[in-house]
Symmetry: C2
Subunit: 481 residues, 2 copies
Amino acid sequence: MDWKPDFSSEIPLYVQIKDSIKLKISLGEWAVGTKIPAQRTLADQLGVNRSTVVTALSDLIDEGLLEGNTKGGTRVVNNAWNLLAASPPPDWSSYVQAGTYYPNQPAIQQINRAEFQEGIIRLGTGELSPDLLPSAQMKKIFEESSLNPFALGYEEPKGNLYLRKQITAYLQGIGIHTSPSAILIVSGALQALQLISIGLLQRGSSILLESPSYLYSIHVFQSSAMKLIGLPMDEEGVRTDHISRYKKGHNASLLYTIPSFHNPTGTLMTEARRQDLMTICADEGLPIIEDDAYRELWFDNPPPLPLKARDPNALVLYLGSLSKTLSPGLRIGWVVAPEPVIERLADIKMQNDYGSSSVSQWAAAEWLGRGLYQEHLVFVREQLQMRRDHTVQLLQTHFKDIAEWSVPAGGFYIWLRLTLDIPMHMLFERACKEGVLLNPGSIYSRHTGNYLRISYAYAKQEELEIGLKQLAILIKLLHRE
Amino acid sequence: MDWKPDFSSEIPLYVQIKDSIKLKISLGEWAVGTKIPAQRTLADQLGVNRSTVVTALSDLIDEGLLEGNTKGGTRVVNNAWNLLAASPPPDWSSYVQAGTYYPNQPAIQQINRAEFQEGIIRLGTGELSPDLLPSAQMKKIFEESSLNPFALGYEEPKGNLYLRKQITAYLQGIGIHTSPSAILIVSGALQALQLISIGLLQRGSSILLESPSYLYSIHVFQSSAMKLIGLPMDEEGVRTDHISRYKKGHNASLLYTIPSFHNPTGTLMTEARRQDLMTICADEGLPIIEDDAYRELWFDNPPPLPLKARDPNALVLYLGSLSKTLSPGLRIGWVVAPEPVIERLADIKMQNDYGSSSVSQWAAAEWLGRGLYQEHLVFVREQLQMRRDHTVQLLQTHFKDIAEWSVPAGGFYIWLRLTLDIPMHMLFERACKEGVLLNPGSIYSRHTGNYLRISYAYAKQEELEIGLKQLAILIKLLHRE
């Protein structure tokens, strides 16, 4: 609830709560059929005792607006008007369940909500910390916007041409030679996957991918009735020895991979493995989605050239993004692919959202075109490397006896394998209650129940110190229980 | 093609063209299997004679890279590498055809492309003319961004809270009482439809809607295997006498309507019809999508209150947008609905694009919060009214004997019925060749083949004068042929 009671008012709290719930019901925000939040949740949100909430709800049950059930849930059953109508009002909960798109996993939904809990330490968040985002420079760019004004109208279906030219030049620097006409601007790499799922694939298709993978944590392909087929990984990246067999066995349509600083394992695919992968996929005629969102976040050495830079047979749909390096809020990414594919995806994007924000596209083009992006990358790499070093040190201090990990050469993540056997859902719940938010490995694969994705990109240094120490204590505690 | 030949070079044009096509093929932009543009199109794009293109293509056919077929189409059949691979490269054209999402109608694709043709007069475009977009004020807002800095990170799943608060206050002014928690920020009203289609409806559902309707021009519901069932309209809006029968006959899940300044007919639903519609839908338990994107564009009097303002039973999913009034490029719209519905749609939006651009959300909040939006609306209404008057005058001059129309009380559109019987696809093609772009009625329904959607919002006054005059001449010419 957005509303808060007025503690200085003479009106009793339970009456205020009753009235505000009545208002929500009468406005239709809590339509008939709505399951209202649990008593405890309401009490927490409103900052009152649970008994106050209980009193308010009982009154509303007596008045016939709410109905409790035996499981302790409470639903809206009436409002002031519905008794007058010939038919019952629409049962929105049945609509909510009818949609074809899968909801987020409950764990992800819980994480999405907990992220906005005040003071919580986010040990798994896959974003740059707010103090690594270039707010001052962004402000400056907008203050100087009269130098090169942006359009307020719709952009071309493939996206702003000037931005696509800047991206063409940028891609040249990482070995990808292409033209603006083979580039589509998208609202982040995630949207590219969404467009591919509805634009290029039949329902029931199979996608090969690394296991674990970020892709398991969203439902972009499964919601279009597609299957994800996991391939094992080693320290060089996805293993290629199963690809032919899996492709035939599952009639796979695509292979999805994050070769550089893989999410969630942090693995960097080696040069040899990249060559190997391209050879096998060319032999199999198996197209590849290369998700390269983390590529620029290297520490000592740049990663090997992208798969797309060694792609004479046009196997690769290449995804890039500014979300992990510059600003997630801009929502700007790109797809590089053969022109007919780009045209198909652009056509669907027009039907989905009429193109990405023109202001965001303009800002992205300024960052790239004025060389500011490269400057910013130097800063981000330095900062992330320091954060990685600090985090590895903390792990050595607190986790030496209870976990294993590799030191990533770039990106955001350390893939922590707990060597103690503990119930991970309890760890997640307990940590959350103690103000530490985790990304459990089970989000990224069914077989990684004893892993955690630790991100050194988001939490502040002090938070990492407190959070990781607290986590280690909690793990040992749970192990002893 | 982005590339243009160098006319000052000593290298013959056909060689330059050959080389540039070879490059596109070798880079995979024109992958094996790609159908390349027609000779005439290429010649036009490159600014050369068709014979020059023919020479270049013949050479490439001789070299084995291209293959012509009997129908005059030319495809890429080889590149320098694919002969070395064990398998043929992926056939991207089969992927392009495999996706579940419908492509745009050919007429719409043609319109989308022609809009970027230089000098074309756009008589049907449903956007504000660039000179009605508040570029100077927008620049000023960004220059003052230090007053109230914007975030570069991700926003909450439902969208920026400050923006949702501004929208809550705005909605109050049009009779809709709600809270920020019952609002979802979307990238334009179109995205809201997309989210509803995959989030609230089963495959195979039926949607009732006005016939004609803008909704027929996109495939947002049909791509999820849903059926659109058209309801007849009269001058008061959608007729309500068929709703009960159609609802039962087709087991309809929703009714979609544009009550204020309907797209494409310009009709304003009367107060009486609104009441009637709400009574029938309440009796039938039939939920409504109210698309209110044009409501603020009234001339003499504001339209009757929205359906959502008379919705005690929470029947209505309400859609609003800044695209038609302030800036299409911002890509900011909103949905108002019962909270469980908003939460479901927010969850799916997070899986589709991780939320709308934070810069766009910030700018939208500034416009609303600082009262600038209302000021701008006054200006836009005045300007649009002048444009409407001017356009009606032009129609009286040139179309009196060949068409019928009603004068709209707001919005963008005049729905022009041609009384002469002419082949409309030929009119479209001929007009396009003469530099006048039309939106034929057939885009909006199967039964409106003799209509045109005329928009007075986009083209300049002089363009309207020239374009409408030319159109009238062309119609009479075609009628005589």
